[in-house]
């Protein structure tokens, strides 16, 4: 909605205030939007961090306490260690998948890319139960190991457990952004290197990977920040000595008003922005743009029979690992009772029947909410990317910082902030308070998932040479026409990647949603899962609903990949005919 608003008001103001460029107007509108729905609501909650708990006066005492507390120091170190290691492990998982599917002629690329994306969609609660039923101390794997070999592997214990689960969960960020970047590399670069005698690993190390750096960094930064700020996984593994769970536990206790929770939230936000800034520094002074587009990226090589078998084997092993939680979810959804045994006692369709008779409205709501949020995200995300990279507007980087800071804002803080700011505002037409209007859920999802779309759009634009736009403008195209006809089509892969990531993760978001849902008929899927998971009998039905969420998102992803592939085929043929 705000997107159409911004478009129409841009046209309007363009004539009223001719001195402001279109980009500036859009930038200001986005800044207002972020202020209203992110900065102010969060500030309303987080300012407690700067108050003396007793006198209510402004103070920095709480921050001093934070740095004097051993528990918080350790938590900070643990969070940092886990985030860094998760980036490493996630890279190890994502790199082969991205490389093999983009670099070689390979049947089933779209399928592999889609499957490699699914781990990102981990429905709340049921995902955790499925993981512990498979990998827990008495999960399938360990029960079998113990029975036949007499030992167990502590997959899910302590910080290593967090690293494993986080890497499996978030590596798609790297996969999806790295794949998009690899597809965008100019083939002539690679050919030039080959002509100069580079091949194999050297070619990859010196030419291909550095050129794909924006995509990789976009993904890696997301993984790092997300893991640093994520509280779901540590909480499910009951690891409390990390920053995000410490903040959560201290904010959500009934009746306790511990300012340290807000101090930690503030530090999480600040550290995320800092990490982002660091990744900018790393990229500064390097130009990743290449002029030739639509040439289909890297040349795809045919694999020999042996290589092909090896490649399939690697892919199969990786997919088996990363999809195992979802395999567990399937067992949970179709199983009857599953307790202390390698497999469920029996299988049934009962849970799906329950879901289809009771809960179809959740599916519709999820499609509506997550879909709208993701569309808004890519619109705003590409606008911000364009403003940051292509214009010289003062303070433009702050749009990026602000939007990305949303990553670090715990959902519950955003939810409380919305209630605080918008509950007093009555909507027209008898729709009640703004905070209990279903549209506010879309806005919350949009804000929370904007960073994902933004990073993808940024990476896509970074790889696009300015020369292409200048050429279009030299040929007489207006600025907006250039954006529409040149920039957006060439960014399409990145935009689509952003859409899919935002949509998929918005479809299973719960922490902000649960504060804002005002009636069951307007609730999304994740809330339905929460509802089922409140009682022992609802575990199967909750898993069934989780499966539906995964299937919906997987289908969406697969279709998107088909679209990318078709676009590429369409553009590649004339290019190779030259």
């Amino acid at each position: 909605m705000s997107a159409t608003n911004s478009a129409s008001s841009r046209a309007l103001r363009f004539t009223l205030f001719p001195r402001l460029s279109g980009a500036a107007v859009v930038g200001i509108l986005i800044a207002i939007l972020l202020m209203a729905f992110l900065v102010l609501p969060v500030a309303q909650v987080i300012y407690v961090a700067f108050l003396d708990a007793r006198s209510g006066t402004l103070t920095l005492q709480n921050f001093q306490d934070f740095f004097n507390t051993t528990l918080f120091q350790q938590s900070f170190i643990n969070s940092f260690y886990v985030s860094a290691m998760s980036v490493v492990v996630a890279t190890i998982i994502a790199l082969p998948l991205a490389y093999i599917t983009t670099r070689f002629n390979f049947a089933g690329t779209a399928l592999i890319q889609s499957l490699g994306f699914i781990p990102l969609i981990m429905p709340p609660f049921v995902g955790a139960v499925a993981m512990s039923l498979l990998f827990g101390r008495n999960g399938t794997v360990n029960l079998l190991l113990n029975q036949y070999f007499g030992f167990r592997i502590p997959f899910m214990e302590g910080l290593n457990g967090v690293i494993l689960v986080q890497s499996i969960h978030y590596f798609p960020f790297i996969l999806i952004n790295l794949s998009a970047a690899l597809r965008n590399i100019d083939r002539s670069m690679e050919e030039a290197a080959q002509n100069l005698g580079a091949s194999g690993l050297r070619l990859f190390r010196r030419i291909v990977f550095p050129l794909a750096m924006p995509g990789y960094l976009a993904g890696a930064a997301l993984v790092f920040i997300k893991v640093f700020d994520d509280l779901g996984t540590p909480l499910l593994l009951n690891v409390n000595t990390m920053l995000a769970p410490q903040a959560y536990l201290r904010i959500t206790g009934v009746g306790i008003n511990d300012p340290m929770g807000y101090v930690i939230s503030f530090i999480l936000v600040a550290f995320s922005v800092f990490s982002l800034w660091a990744s900018f520094l790393f990229m500064r002074g390097k130009d990743y743009a290449t002029t030739q587009k639509g040439g289909g990226g890297l040349s795809k090589r045919q694999l020999s029979r042996r290589e092909k078998i090896l490649a399939y084997l690697v892919i199969f092993l990786i997919l088996a690992l990363v999809l195992s939680p979802h395999f567990g979810l399937v067992l949970l959804a179709f199983g009857t009772i599953w307790s202390f045994s390698p497999l469920p006692d029996g299988f049934t369709l009962q849970h799906f029947q329950t879901v289809f008779t009771e809960s179809t409205q959740y599916i519709y709501n999820t499609l509506l909410y997550a879909g709208s949020a993701a569309v808004l995200d890519v619109l705003i995300g590409s606008a911000i990317a364009y403003i940051v990279i292509r214009t010289g507007l003062p303070g433009r980087k702050w749009l990026d910082y602000m939007a990305t800071a949303a990553l670090a804002v715990p959902g519950v803080v955003l939810g409380i902030g919305y209630l605080r700011m918008f509950h007093g505002i009555q909507l027209p037409f008898g729709m009640g308070p703004m905070a209990s209007w279903w549209g506010i859920i879309i806005i919350a999802l949009m804000i929370r998932r904007l960073p994902y779309a933004l990073r993808s759009c940024m990476a896509a634009l970074q790889q696009l040479s300015l020369a292409l736009e200048e050429a279009a403008e030299n040929l007489g195209a207006s600025k907006s026409r250039t954006i529409r006809r040149i920039v957006v089509p060439l960014m399409a892969g990145g935009i689509l990647a952003g859409f899919v990531t935002s949509f998929a993760t918005a479809a299973v978001e719960l922490s902000a949603t649960i504060m804002l849902v005002s009636r069951a008929s307007e609730a999304p899927l994740a809330y339905g899962i929460y509802l089922y998971m409140q009682s022992p009998a609802g575990r199967g039905a909750g898993a069934a609903l989780g499966i539906l969420a995964v299937v919906i998102v997987a289908l969406g992803t697969y279709l998107s990949h088909r679209i990318i592939e078709r676009e590429r085929d369409r553009t590649v043929i004339p290019a190779s005919g030259q």
């Binding site: 007793r54 827990g136 009934v254 009746g255 409380i416 509802l531 409140q534 022992p536």
Partner: protein, 438 residues
């Protein structure tokens, strides 16, 4: 975009259709409980319609606090008495005269209704030990009947519980033991039990989940989790230890409710004999507070009004519990939840040392073990301090009155406790390891 417009149109239609007298209930209870009540209530009072909104207790309390200015909720319906206390203290609950007959003043030693009349107990729940029969068989474990049993070395790594700061009912269990056994012995018990834990969960439902799926063998849970899990077919059983806290689950009318008449009708319905019988539904399994409702209860259904039920129940001092509510939560988290790894290592080391010297008469080793045990059990504050407002108010909801001079800021106090505890656990482990190697 079209989808959005369609959605707007649809929601406008549904809104205009739902103009009947709607009673809005915010609850933490599962659909299994609210569903049957909604059906029975709407049948008994056709003029009302019940709108149930599920939120976990924390989110529900935050929601009511934040929406105070333009309240849209009629009823708050949840287990944890502390959540009601918080709401009451912030003037978020209304005092309404409710007509209910045949409900006694207290259950065990715990008063059923709020003495000031702001909320009413509608169902009782006891705390118990839930265990997974397959897990117990596979690990050849004896069945723990009492809290003390869970302290034994044989249960190392088999126990699960949620933190009292996350679950009001767990808090009452912790406090029950502290009052029953005394401050020092009570904490010592909790530390030895916690040393055997494989997890302290963040949600109270995480415990039955862990036991149901077999990742933990024993769980310290509120009874209906165990009863309902068993009723849904999981291989689990529940035992009530002789010292148990019987706690009412509550219902209260929100101050400035949009539909006060409907709200009153619903509360009265829930407390009526007809409403009380809904609790016996196998998916709900909570204990009615009206003793007459037990007449129709199925065979073997626990009856807290029975003389044989929990004979060791203590007189629960509500004022004492209230005075140090947040302090106990914080102390538990500092000593146990956040330092579970350190505690477990120390407890395991002591258990190993004790096993190594079970039959020996090595006095030096026994002295070292005794010293290690004392270090694990050591507490940073005494019971008097725990009840001293100067200490307890550090943890109170802030910025109310500056009358009491408190000893420091929460973060400061917790840091002191933390270094005290971590240091003790480390030294206890070293001593125990030294004893084991003798």
């Amino acid at each position: 975009m079209r989808k959005l417009l369609l959605g707007t149109a649809l929601s406008l239609i549904t809104l205009s259709a739902a103009s009947a007298d709607v009673v809005t209930v915010v609850t933490s209870f599962p659909q299994d409980l609210t569903g049957p009540f909604k059906a029975a209530f709407e049948e008994a009072y056709p003029e009302h319609q019940l709108e149930v909104v599920n939120r976990n207790t924390n989110a529900a309390v935050a929601f009511l606090q934040e929406t105070q200015g333009s309240n849209t909720t009629d009823i708050f319906w949840a287990s944890a008495p502390d959540a009601f206390e918080v709401l009451k203290s912030q003037n978020l609950l209304a005092k309404v005269d409710i007509a209910a007959e045949g409900i006694p003043d207290s259950i065990g030693s715990y008063p059923i209704n709020d003495p000031d009349g702001f909320y009413y107990g509608f169902a009782a729940s006891g705390y118990g030990i839930m265990y997974n029969t397959r897990y117990v068989d596979a690990n050849e474990l004896p069945i723990a009947q009492e809290w003390e049993d869970l302290m034994g070395a044989e249960y190392n790594g088999h126990v699960a519980m949620s933190s009292p700061s996350r679950s009001g009912t767990t808090h009452l269990t912790v406090e029950t033991l502290l009052q029953g056994d005394g401050w020092e012995d009570g904490w010592a018990k909790w530390k030895w039990i916690s040393g055997n834990m494989n997890t302290v969960t963040e949600r109270s439902f995480g415990v039955p989940d862990a036991v149901n799926s077999g990742s933990a063998g024993f769980g310290i849970v509120i009874d209906f989790f165990g009863l309902a899990s068993k009723a849904s077919g999981f291989p689990v059983e529940l035992v009530y230890p002789s010292v148990t806290a019987i706690v009412p689950a509550n219902i209260g009318i929100v101050e400035n409710a949009p539909s006060p008449a409907g709200a009153k009708d619903f509360v009265e319905f829930v407390l009526s004999p007809q409403g009380q019988e809904v609790l016996l539904n196998p998916a709900i399994m909570r204990l009615p507070v009206n003793p007459e409702a037990y007449a129709n209860a199925p065979e073997g259904f626990p009856n807290p009004f029975d003389e044989d039920f929990a004979p060791g129940a203590i007189i629960f001092d509500v004022d004492k519990s209230g005075a140090r509510y947040n302090l106990v939560n914080s102390l538990f988290d500092v000593m146990i939840t956040y330092r579970l790894d350190e505690l477990r290592q120390a407890v395991s080391a002591v258990q190993r040392a004790e096993a190594a010297h079970a039959d020996s008469s090595n006095e030096e080793a026994h002295a070292l073990i005794a010293e290690a045990r004392a270090l694990i059990e050591a507490l940073p504050i005494t019971e008097e301090q725990s009840l001293d407002p100067a200490y307890a108010d550090v943890f109170q909801v802030a910025r109310k009155s500056a009358d009491t001079e408190v000893v420091g800021r929460q973060a400061e106090v917790e840091q002191e406790w933390d270094s005290f505890t971590v240091d003790n656990y480390r030294r206890a482990r070293e001593l125990a390891e030294q004893a084991a190697s003798l």
